[in-house]
């Protein structure tokens, strides 16, 4: 106390130190506990791929955080942080909770601030629930046969080792594959499988896939853009508990006052809607590997709707032109897209020049 009495200004160091210590404490604890555990024993990429295929999951509950910083112009009213709308995942940061007991008992909850959307599979019942709309949808799904061993494709004779070798052979010409045993995901040591494009024309710097050291489950995927230190896209667990969650988690009864839509039976993959959407012409691939460009044609009138939200967004994009014609350019951190005035759409993880070259073909 005498020091403080002689030099009263020194007192200000106390709150300052407290602020620094408290701000650093949460991250320091994570780093220290990971350092105390040390790195994991070395494993090759092929060994890791085998581990992932042979991983047996007896149950899981965890929190997943997804962040996307794709460098897109933000569109007010579409998605964004803290929204519990399932379509909002394209921008900002989102928190999901996942519970898994077996393929027939899964629940995924998208947490919004004061809202939640749920997808619950309990046996043959599949429920979706939205707290904001107070609505639920009910499907019935066939029971999946959990005893079928996992393989890359039905009837595929590959052992996990062969599958891993085949996968590595397929990507090696275009990709440098390395491993790293020092990642920490959700406070657990993890391996990382690092994929780097050999072609320098790609906007993707690296893709890092974290694989939990103990359960061998993929726990995080990060995509880094060229020239950025933070991942442009990241989805990973922030908490991870490999134990079977209680059955009560998967029980869902629509509460009174809910609009329930009965959607009947889902028969399997053939009911999944065409991801290309209606009227999109067959896409053409130009180039190969990481620098390939997808060329397609939008249905007529898709963007000519004056005053519509799509047209308004398009108006804000810069105009570009060249020997290939003219159009509007959308540049993100991970991809570039050009929509030409005659309705051609070119998308790729490459610089605009490469897109123009592909369009000029």
């Amino acid at each position: 106390m005498t020091l403080f009495q002689r030099r009263p200004t020194l007192r200000w160091l106390v709150p300052l130190l407290a602020a620094l210590v408290l701000a650093a404490a949460s991250s320091v604890v994570g780093v220290l506990s990971a350092a105390a555990r040390g790195g994991l024993p070395e494993r090759s990429a092929a060994q890791l791929l085998v581990d992932v295929q042979t991983a047996r999951l007896s149950g899981l509950s965890g929190t997943i955080v997804q962040t996307a910083d794709l460098g897109l112009p933000s569109i007010p009213g579409v998605g964004g942080d803290g929204s519990s709308d399932m379509t909002s995942l394209v921008a900002g940061s989102h928190t999901l909770r996942l519970w898994y007991a077996d393929p027939d008992h899964v629940r995924l909850a998208l947490l919004g601030s004061l809202g939640e959307s749920d997808l619950v599979r309990n046996g043959t019942d599949l429920w979706t629930w939205s707290s904001k709309q107070k609505s639920a949808t009910h499907h019935t799904v066939p029971r999946s046969d959990a005893r079928t061993p996992r393989s890359l494709a039905d009837g595929s004779p590959l052992t996990p080792q062969q599958a891993a070798d085949a996968a590595l052979r397929a990507i090696t010409p275009s990709t440098k594959v390395s491993t790293d045993g020092t990642a920490v995901v959700a406070g657990r040591s993890a391996y990382e499988l690092v994929l780097r494009p050999r072609d320098s024309g790609s906007l993707v710097d690296s893709v890092r896939i974290a694989i939990d050291g103990e359960t061998h489950l993929p726990t995080r995927v990060q995509v880094y853009a060229d020239g950025h230190t933070d991942p442009a896209f990241e989805v990973g667990f922030t908490s991870f508990d490999p134990s079977t969650p209680p059955d009560s988690v998967f029980a869902f009864n629509p509460p009174p006052g809910t609009k329930v839509t009965e959607s009947g039976a889902l028969d399997g993959p053939d009911r999944v809607p065409d991801p290309r959407g209606p009227g999109l012409a067959d896409p053409k691939l130009v180039g190969s590997g990481w620098t390939s460009v997808v060329l397609t044609r939008l249905p007529a009138g898709a963007t000519t709707d004056e005053g519509g939200p799509a047209a308004q967004v398009l108006q804000k994009l810069p105009r570009v032109s060249g020997s290939w014609g003219s159009g509007r350019l959308l540049r993100g951190t991970l991809f570039t897209a050009v929509l030409t005035d005659d309705g051609r759409l070119a998308v790729g993880a490459v610089s605009p020049d490469a897109i123009y070259r592909a369009l000029a073909r």
């Binding site: 007192r11 407290a18 602020a19 964004g80 004061l114 809202g115 939640e116 107070k134």
Partner: protein, 284 residues
């Protein structure tokens, strides 16, 4: 030690609550503070009456928790807390904490208070304890009025959580109380900021305005995605995490981070107030 000495120097009680009691009496008997509590209590009344009087087909829509009010009266309290969290509750805490040191300095009573044989650090501790009690009381007033009026107008029963599952009435009440205590803890952290600002000035109004600017700036920064790296450090970032108590199972991550941030702010700003107040020249 002789008997005479023991009589002359009575052992002080380990913890004397006299100073705290006097501080609380000051806070809760001031007419302006009672009027402020009345404003806080008016919001749940307004919500409950407005929803009761509106046509029954019009449920759904409105701010958070509004559509659930007609099914369970407990949600009147939650809707009121959610509405008052951005402005009314921080304003109440800002008024009280801004007044705590600056108000005494302004009235000229601070020097008399310092004559009391109590260390300045302890005086500051008591001042802060009184602010924390007020924060809890302010949140509880909103909850109590909301719960009572909600149960009278809409009835109780099972509570539908955000996750779509239902819990019993008592569990619902417990969750509402826990949410209230969480909000009170968050507001107490703002009160520590207030105590510090209050020790800087002799103008209680200026202090109150500064505290409100602080909490509002926090809310604004929290809504700007470009500074998302700053968000976990903002006092108000986790305030809405009280909603996580209404999930099944409860999502504790946001609540624990919120309590950690609140405790950190309380500690840092109380220490800052201490650094300022212990060497402050009281001139008024």
């Amino acid at each position: 030690m002789s008997v005479a000495e023991a009589v002359r120097r009575p052992r002080p009680r380990v913890v004397s609550t006299r100073l705290l009691r006097s501080e609380l009496r000051l806070i809760f008997t001031r007419r302006r503070n009672i009027a402020g509590m009345g404003v806080l209590a008016a919001v749940p009344v307004l919500i409950a009456v407005a929803i009761r009087l509106s046509s029954p087909g019009r449920d759904g829509g409105g701010p958070d928790f509004f559509s659930s009010v007609t099914e369970n009266g407990l949600f009147v309290a939650m809707a009121a807390l959610t509405l008052e969290l951005p402005l009314f509750l921080p304003l109440a805490v800002a008024a009280i904490s801004g007044d705590s040191v600056a108000g005494e300095a302004n009235l000229g009573t601070l020097r008399y208070l310092l004559v009391v044989p109590v260390a300045r650090a302890r005086l500051l501790g008591v001042k802060y304890a009184a602010i924390a009690v007020f924060a809890l009381a302010a949140a509880m007033v909103v909850t109590t009025v909301g719960v009572v009026l909600g149960l009278v107008l809409f009835g109780g029963g099972d509570m539908t959580l955000l996750s779509g599952s239902q819990v019993g009435f008592l569990s619902g009440v417990a969750r509402v109380l826990a949410a209230t205590c969480y909000i009170a803890a968050c507001l107490s952290a703002l009160g520590a900021v207030g105590l510090f600002v209050s020790s800087l000035t002799e103008q209680p109004i200026g202090a109150t305005v500064a505290i409100l600017v602080f909490s509002t700036a926090s809310f604004i920064l929290d809504s700007i995605p470009q500074v998302s790296w700053l968000h976990p450090f903002l006092l108000t970032h986790h305030w809405l995490a009280f909603g996580d108590l209404f999930r099944a199972p409860v999502a504790w991550d946001g609540l624990t981070s919120g309590l950690y941030v609140a405790a950190a702010y309380a500690a840092v700003f109380w220490l800052a107030a201490w650094a300022r107040f212990l060497t402050k020249d009281v001139t008024s």
